[in-house]
Amino acid sequence: MDKVKYSLKDYKSELKPIWCPGCGDYGVLNALMQALVKLQIPPHQMAIVSGIGCSSRLPGYINTYGFNGIHGRAIPLATGVKLSNPDIKVIAVGGDGDGFSIGAGHIPHAARKNIDMTYIVMNNNIYGLTKGQASPTTPIGEQTKTTFYGNMDEPINPVRMMIAYKASFVARVFSGDPKNAIEVIAQAIQQRGFSFVEVLSPCPTFRGVEQFKLIREKVRYLPEDYQPTDEVRAFDIANDNDFIRLGVIYRQDRPIYTDIMRKMQQVSEKMGKPEILDLLKQFEP
């Protein structure tokens, strides 16, 4: 009965990635496809949408319905797809610039509405596609092409931000740890509601191999007894400066938008669903 219908090759598109050698995004693409194999989601029953950036090229590399939209708008694009067809699995992907800079205004609203989608952000702390400018997650003091004298801005802490927005599911993984990444991404896709996965995805081209090493030194799994439903504890983990914790950091089940929407539609239908032309009655004087 446990026949595997879809294997890796079913999810692979004929397009070859053009990311730089050593880019963390290869690992993310692989982990996402492995998670899809694990969940056996039919390729035509999902949509992967993105904005603009190196990581936003990802939808084209998967054999499914993809949409490579415009910069910063992956989340509203995904919202439109999901509400139009609630049975479709919707995954939005992108980078730290696309998500936390130009597109940051959309995150709290998708989270509070609890739109049933998974949002995977490949965080490399830099703008790669435009060749090396500061991103909203670039550490203070770092020199980039637009911060010659050192970055002045406090970086965004994506996990802490998502917990504050009450996303249904908040997790962090590392592209250099595929086993954990596959497991967590699969859980995120299964979560009903707005689920968020930050993937630490180094950029060897603009941040050097040092970035990869530094992440590998600092990452730790969550403590054995960790319960992601404890919001206060989740903030502590997000605020940890000594280690970067990997795993499902926060989780809470809330009603999802499309379920509420369907109920509303049912309620509204009871108020009358006449032939369209009969609606003209309301305009009678």
Binding site: A47, S268, P285
Partner: protein, 594 residues
Amino acid sequence: MASNNIVIGIAGSGGDGVISAGEILVNAASSDGLFVFMLKSFGAQIRGGESSVRVRMSSEPVATQGDKLDILVVLSWKDYLKFQSEMLLEDHVVILSDLEDSFPEENIPISADKLKNWYKIPFNQLATNSAGTSLAKNIAMLGVISELFNLPKTALKESIKKKFSGKREDVIEKNLSALKAGQDYVKKEIKKKDSILFEYTPGEPRIVMEGNEATAFGALYAGVEFYAGYPITPSTEIMHWLSVYLPRYNGVVIQMEDELASINAVVGASFAGRKAMTATSGPGMSLMAEGIGLAGMAELPIVVINVQRGGPSTGIPTKTEQADLMQAIWGSHGDAPRVVIAPSDVEDCFDCTVLAFYIAEKYQLPVIVLSDAFIGHRKESINPNRFRDLKYGFKKINRRITPTENELEDYHRFKITKNGISPVTWPGMEKGMYQAAGIEHNEKGFPSSDVSVHARMTQKRWDKFREIKREFSFERFYGPDDAELGVIAWGSTKGAVKEAVARANANGIKVQAIIPQILYPFLIQPFHDFLRHKKRVIFVEMAYAGAFRRYLRGFVRFGDFDVETVSYRQTGGAPFTVRQIYDKIVEEYEKKDA
């Protein structure tokens, strides 16, 4: 003076019930089969402040609000002052004001000759004595004017009953007694010194719609399934209406966090196979420009309604203007194809929205409907039967074409075809997976920066225009073909132009007007037909920089027709009057012999 065409203006403060009095009057007139046109005007305050309403009723079709008032009702002189420039008075105007208004008479900005027919009526007292509350003074006022000018009385009673039908029974009783008190007062106390008497024969009831309601209704009629939007004056009524009705037909209405999100959600919904739309106004339109370009690039049908307001920037949100034409046509980076159509009155809001969905779905591109505050916020009475026989009927507005089994064997989403239209799939369809993209792509949908691919695909996206130009040839002409003087206008200026042209021809001044409905792509043939006999044409537009004239001159070689062109334009706010257009027609007509 018996008249079958009368213009009434009412001004007062927010609490005076000016607007509801106007609505009751409009409904009464419409149920008696009259042609009605109603305009509201407000100050910037949300509550209180000044408000005014203008109602024109006639037993003949009317296309405008009427230039000047035959009757002015002032519930408060202080508030009337704010509308002086919008409420011009006929020489024979009859004025009614509240007896208790303490506003100093010497400060009333109306010349003595227009104050000949001035009645001071105790509106407040009539209401308090009959209904027990001064809140009914607007109804007492309706009683007074209906008796004094012979307005539809039985219909007024019915209209009041309907207006307060949800309220306690005594509310209806009180208002009806206020109406009667007003009528009795005129019978007993007033010696009529003016000569205005409205005369008409009642006809079949007409329905009353606002432009924005007609737009929303048109969208539902065309089968809209998804609406994402963000509130903005003067477009929001479209979202209000759809949020009540669309969910009943399994549709989705979602209020997004901004216009950037709205347009992208609409594009996402269209990608998912739904008929999708949004409505906005100038500032929102600016924010949506990039998303509209995306829909053009990804060849996804969307409908965007722009209810134009005065600009630039925040401008005057509650007033009308026609200055977004170039933005609609060119307002995105790159060669971004879209169709632009412009409604010219309330009925046309319905027609254009239906047409927009038809074109969007058939040709898989964005369609922009350029309405404006003047149409969106006015009420007109309409023959209800006109909706039953439409060129683009409900059944005919098919969804975009999907690929055949055969085509799915080796599916090319953006396959180059003769007319630029390629079959489209959406998520959930078992075969036919593809990537939609804002990035240039080949026929399969894969990204490409090959210049020859870009050239081919750009051509493909614009090939649709050839077909659209073949499919549509309809334009509106008013006046005789062989007139040597012409007027070219678009959108909401149609009303004033139409009436001015009719008046001119009746006075022996031969003139013809053309009002296009599809503005882009440009359908050149009707203009060539129009210009055949013209020596001189006047461009009429409510936009300072004259974009319409410049736009047309890019397509039509007026010099080849030996036609002189004149631009007649004003900034937005108050719409053109018939008189203004008429005078311009006369001025230009007289030049022909000079």
